[in-house]
């Protein structure tokens, strides 16, 4: 359970980090909070030749709001995001998901960008990013590009970041009036990865649903949007019957993985229950925000 021998670089600027990534390509692993990467090294599931430690890059940390978007630096620690008033006020879905990540000591080191770049499909933040259509800002040798969440998650622990690119920032849209959100999950114990998780957002106007967003964690190799259920909800008035139909629709086409924590069928039923709970909670706090 000791880490394999590995070279170590600690750049102090994004440009230096990008140069190192360009030099080492997929021989390098970016070390952010290390709360997933170091276990992977300890278990010898990852064998990078070099670790590029970005903890010393000050420009990668911070939370700011501009033009209706909340920008979170990739190295912003989860506990810092958890304590951020900007995130609590403007991205309440993210604020609700953050305390569910691991445990307190994990969030002391873990980072928002690290979790999203690691892209564990059972993790909380990928589902939030997918539900809210977050934007991922990466920088490579040829400059910056912005990747929408729909294109970020490509597979199990796999994103569309190229080996010579560094995730520098993730942008979440600030919540508007009439929008309520809820993060729900079923986990064996507090702090465990979700057996199934759900990020839900509903926008109400004049008593009808104007916008609905549902994204699951833990039902596939990537976070999954329930588009059909979202379409079913839009234009309708919130009601228990409608939420039942949405739960059915959202789980019709999913084929969740089975493991020691639950069968595929159990996950599907849990997912349907989370849709009902999540929609009810989101509708309730959408009413409060109007």
């Amino acid at each position: 359970m000791k880490l394999p021998p590995v070279d170590y670089e600690a750049p102090e600027t994004v440009s230096e980090a990008v140069e190192l990534l360009a030099e080492h390509q997929d021989e390098a692993s970016v070390l952010a909070g290390g709360q997933s990467l170091i276990p992977l090294l300890a278990l010898r599931l990852a064998h990078p030749a070099v670790l590029i430690d970005i903890n010393g890059i000050a420009e990668l940390s911070g939370v700011s709001k501009t033009d209706g978007w909340v920008a979170i630096g990739a190295m912003t620690r989860e506990y810092v995001a958890e304590e951020s008033e900007t995130i609590a006020d403007d991205v309440p879905l993210l604020a609700a998901a953050l305390p569910l990540i691991g445990h307190e000591a994990i969030r002391s080191r873990g980072t928002v960008g690290g979790s999203l770049a690691h892209a564990d499909p059972a993790a909380e933040l990928p589902a939030v990013a997918r539900a809210l259509d977050a934007e991922f800002v990466v920088r490579g040798p040829s400059g910056e590009r912005v990747i929408p969440a729909a294109e970020w998650f490509e597979g199990f622990l796999t994103t569309s970041r190229r080996p010579d690119e560094l995730l520098t920032e993730v942008r979440f849209p600030a919540v508007g009036p009439g929008t309520g959100t809820s993060f729900q999950e079923v986990a064996r114990r507090h702090g465990d990865f979700a057996i199934v998780g759900l990020a839900a957002s509903l926008t109400l106007s004049d008593g009808a649903i104007g916008d609905a967003r549902l994204a699951f964690a833990g039902v596939s190799d990537v976070p999954v949007r329930a588009r059909d259920a979202e379409d079913l909800l839009v234009g309708e008035a919130p009601s228990p019957q409608l939420f039942d139909q949405a739960a059915q629709r959202a789980t019709d086409d999913i084929d969740p993985p089975a493991d020691v924590h639950g069968s595929s069928e159990y996950r599907r039923k849990a997912a349907a229950a989370l849709v009902r709970r999540g929609l009810r909670a989101a509708a309730d706090n959408a009413g409060e925000r109007q």
Binding site: A42, E104, I106, S108
Partner: protein
């Protein structure tokens, strides 16, 4: 190999750990601070929890080189006079522990939590300790001890957090202290806890 300087339990320490060496192994093997226990070595059990710059962290999930310039507190640093801190005494009085393996991690997590939440209730304490695994007690006696410490600290001196909290003025991630002695690892003049304890039992966990 990189030379690093950090402060451990109030004393300046230097070392040259390999990049792959975790902070936990550095504390145990290089500084002989074997009070920090290693259970799973991949961040699942919480036994290796220490306080780095005021926050509880898993020392098996942090590289020693990443602790350069940091202020680290281990179980040895909670009561420099060789006695027990408020939390340790309360846990003693509550018969909190049995085999003792999870003890250092449990205590460090609780100290960090209580210093931020001195009047925490049982539910908050349970949640704060939820990442620390104990295979003996069933947790009730541990929760009782932390609650007792919170109660005593609120009743005696509301300003004094239970246990020894790290210096809040300590710089976070600041550059290594240039005044710190190099090569003197650890400082022989350091308080108990920062120096190897000849009375410490041999490492029997592995």
């Amino acid at each position: 190999m990189a030379d690093i300087t950090l402060r451990v339990n109030g004393a300046a320490c230097t070392g040259s750990p390999e990049a792959r060496k975790t902070l936990a192994d550095f504390l145990r093997d290089d500084l002989s601070l074997t009070g920090t226990h290693l259970g799973c070595e991949h961040g699942a059990c919480g036994a290796c929890t220490v306080i780095v710059d005021g926050r509880a962290v898993r020392s098996c999930l942090m590289l020693a080189v990443q602790a350069a310039g940091s202020e680290v507190t281990t179980i040895e640093g909670l009561a420099p006079d060789g006695g027990l801190g408020t939390l340790q005494q309360a846990m003693w009085d509550s018969h909190s522990f049995q085999c003792g393996f999870c003890t250092p991690g449990m205590v460090m997590q609780a100290v960090a939590f209580l210093s931020d939440h001195p009047d925490a209730d049982e539910q908050q304490i349970r949640e704060a300790l939820s990442g620390n695994i104990c295979r003996c007690t069933g947790y009730q006696s541990i929760i009782d001890g932390v609650l007792l410490a919170a109660e005593r600290s609120v009743n005696s001196d509301p300003a004094a957090p239970p246990g020894a909290s790290p210096d809040p003025a300590a710089p976070r991630g600041a550059s290594p202290d240039p005044a710190a002695p190099r090569g003197a690892s650890p400082d022989p003049a350091a308080p108990r806890g920062a120096s190897p304890d000849p009375a410490a039992p041999p490492n029997r966990e592995r």
